[in-house]
């Protein structure tokens, strides 16, 4: 079996430009959030994905509506790609009544079943058993859908991830495990949280394939993801894709990230997924200055509108503070 790293794919110019749009939209969303936090307008913890956008864009691109994603805290962009409007996501960050959880929680702790989005608790790794459960239903219903389960290299060390990978393997469940290895878990560098180089090597311990790829290359991510998804759809079970990447900001917007060096950050900034992909498109003569401008303008407009929507949205009604406890 050829490695999924060499999975054959074809994308039209339109699709490639859409990828660029997503990369830019997600970057812009996170950048705006960063500003809003500093301005004190967003009180939520914000876990920026800046520098890591290729993972979400490459893996979510082309998903079917009924495919499910189980994102990690840094994956706000996956909500957008799966169909939640920027306005609703912004309202969620503002904890407004129009947000996904109606203000009960912020960030990604809410989901949308109709769009195949699971909203996890804060508990790292706890989304992966849920992913296995969703995948099990696809198997029970003999559907060709897949579940994408995301987690950090830090979360990889939780018991839940172990149990979930093993269960997915035993029942050949259609799950693609995507490890966003950004070298740090909060302040802890990977060498202090595991004694191996590649998280991908853990897949073998359960009996499925793991690959380690450049998580900053949206096409590399797309290729591997499509390969793994194809496998999953045809009943061949789970795959683990480890995406090597880096977060430019601190763990959250409140973290000064003193634990890393400027050199390291600069090195990774030179691997900016947006730059790499723009260069690719330029090489393929697909990206004119006008198109670029158009995308940039569209992105700014959408983010502006999202903020306006969130800010003009009402706060939740106090009477809903303790409702929806039971169905």
């Amino acid at each position: 079996m050829a490695s999924i790293k060499r999975f054959k794919f074809k994308l039209t110019t339109e699709q490639l430009l859409e990828m660029l749009y997503w990369l830019k939209l997600i970057r812009a969303f996170d950048e705006r959030l960063s500003v809003l936090v500093r301005q004190g307008r967003v009180r939520s913890g914000v876990y920026s994905s800046i520098g890591q956008e290729a993972i979400i864009v490459g893996s979510c691109f082309g998903l079917e509506k009924d495919d499910y994603i189980c994102p990690l805290h840094r994956d706000l962009g996956s909500f957008l790609m799966k169909g939640v409007s920027p306005g609703v996501m912004m309202a969620q960050m503002y904890a407004k009544a129009t947000g996904l959880s109606k203000g009960r929680d912020s960030a990604l702790h809410s989901g949308v079943p109709e769009l195949g989005i699971f909203g996890n608790t804060s508990m790292l790794g706890a989304n992966t058993p849920v992913a296995a459960g969703i995948a099990l239903t696809f198997k029970l219903e003999q559907r060709r859908n897949v579940v994408l389960a995301y987690f950090g290299e830090g979360a990889a060390n939780t018991g839940d991830v172990h149990e979930a990978m093993n269960v997915a393997a035993v029942h050949k469940l259609p799950v693609v495990f995507i490890c966003e290895n950004n070298i740090y878990a909060y302040s802890v560098p990977i060498e202090k949280s595991m004694a191996i180089e590649d998280v991908a090597d853990r897949a073998e311990a359960y009996g499925f394939d793991g690959v380690s790829i450049n998580g900053n290359d949206v096409l590399a991510v797309y290729q591997a993801a499509q390969g793994a998804i194809a496998r999953a759809r045809s009943g061949e079970g789970p795959t683990l894709i480890e995406c090597k990447t880096y977060r430019w900001h601190g763990h959250s917007e409140h973290d000064p990230a003193f634990y890393r060096t400027d050199e390291e950050l600069a090195m990774w900034k030179s691997r900016d997924p947006l730059t790499t992909f723009t260069t690719y498109l330029r090489h393929r003569q697909m990206l004119s200055d006008e198109i670029l401008l158009e995308i940039d303008q569209r992105v700014v407009k959408e983010i502006d509108e999202a903020v306006a929507f969130a800010e003009s949205s009402p706060d939740p009604d106090p009477s809903e503070a303790a409702t929806d406890m039971l169905a």
Binding site: S101, G111, T121, A126, V130, G133, L140, N166, V167, H171
Partner: protein, 327 residues
């Protein structure tokens, strides 16, 4: 005469009937498949419904619950079995954080219809890790329901209700009752509604509130007191969360005296909540303080000599009733 079956068989009957009625219902847990579970509860189900509707799982309690939550998000109604209720601590986070908060954090847009079956309780030579009564942890947590049948009738009727309920339900089946409680069971679509207590014995002098295996001992004690001229009304809560305040208070208004009996330890056992509620809502009606007859604040010893010392029994309950009657 009505068909009489054992508590344990009533549980199986509920599972089988619900699985026949609703293809979305399935069972998962350790050894539940061909083996039929440690207590034989799921015997025959895999044969009838196939491997995936009666699914053997690896020893991974956290994942078993997490998988259930995932499946529930796609419209399934999983019934997870803990081999012993004591091991529920290994899946604790998935219950109290993942399942219990799901609806709330989704802004009320989803339900989480899972059932976690947990064989609980002592007096079966189980020792420290096969005798526990974990109800308080879950009663304390909003977003969950907790039931604890004491008869074959309720074992069947409450499990059917739990499966049809749209919330996470912790179903506590008492091991001591598996073969000792025998009786008629509801047929067809008849269920035992969650939230309704049952008056097991009418009486005008003292209200005794209890549940689970303590119902038998309480009725025994009540009989003794009757011979002494004291008529005890025995209320079997059946549902511990939400417990039937209306039934308890109505009885209290008649008797003005209340004792709570449970096998769980005293401190922050359910008796504390009932006592505090009665205090708040019917202080003027009380002719005597609410009493509690419970396990001491101790673990569950294995030695029969020690366990006997700790378990509440008819003698201890009768003593408390006498004190209360004489107050």
């Amino acid at each position: 005469m009505a068909r009489e079956i054992a508590y344990l068989d009533a549980i199986r009957e509920a599972l089988r009937e619900e699985m026949r009625r609703d293809p979305q219902v399935f069972v998962l847990g350790e050894d539940v498949g061909a083996y039929g579970g440690a207590f034989g509860i799921t015997k025959g189900l895999q044969e009838e419904f196939g491997e995936y509707r009666c699914l053997d799982m690896p020893i991974s309690e956290s994942c078993i619950i997490g998988v259930s939550v995932g499946a529930s998000l796609r419209g399934f109604r999983p019934v997870a079995e803990m081999q012993f209720g004591d091991f529920i601590t290994c899946g604790f986070d998935q219950i109290v954080n993942q399942a219990a908060t799901l609806r709330y954090r989704y802004g009320g847009r989803v339900a989480c219809p899972i059932v976690v079956r947990a064989p609980v309780g002592g007096n079966v030579a189980g020792g420290l890790y096969h005798s526990q009564n974990p109800e308080s942890w879950f009663v304390h947590r909003p977003g969950l329901k907790v039931v604890a049948p004491s008869t074959a009738w309720d074992a069947k009727g409450l499990l059917k209700a739990a499966i049809r309920d749209n919330n996470p339900v912790i179903y506590l089946e008492h091991k001591y009752l598996y073969r000792r409680a025998k009786g008629p069971v509801p047929e067809g679509d008849e269920i035992v509604p969650i939230g309704q207590a049952a008056v097991r014995r009418e009486g005008s002098d003292i209200t005794l509130v209890t549940y689970g295996a303590m119902v038998m001992a309480s009725l025994d004690a009540a009989e003794r007191l009757s011979k002494e001229g004291v008529e005890v009304e025995v209320i079997d809560l059946r549902t511990l969360s939400p417990w039937d305040k209306g039934a308890v208070l109505a009885s209290l208004e008649k008797t003005s005296r209340l004792v709570v009996v449970h096998e769980d330890v005293k401190t922050l056992g359910l008796g504390a909540e009932i006592s505090a509620t009665v205090m708040e809502e019917r202080f003027e009606h009380l002719d005597a303080p609410v009493m509690r007859v419970t396990y001491p604040d101790s673990h569950c010893p294995f030695s029969a000599v020690l366990e006997r010392e700790n378990l509440p029994n008819a003698d201890k309950i009768a003593d408390a009733l006498r004190t209360l009657a004489a107050y």
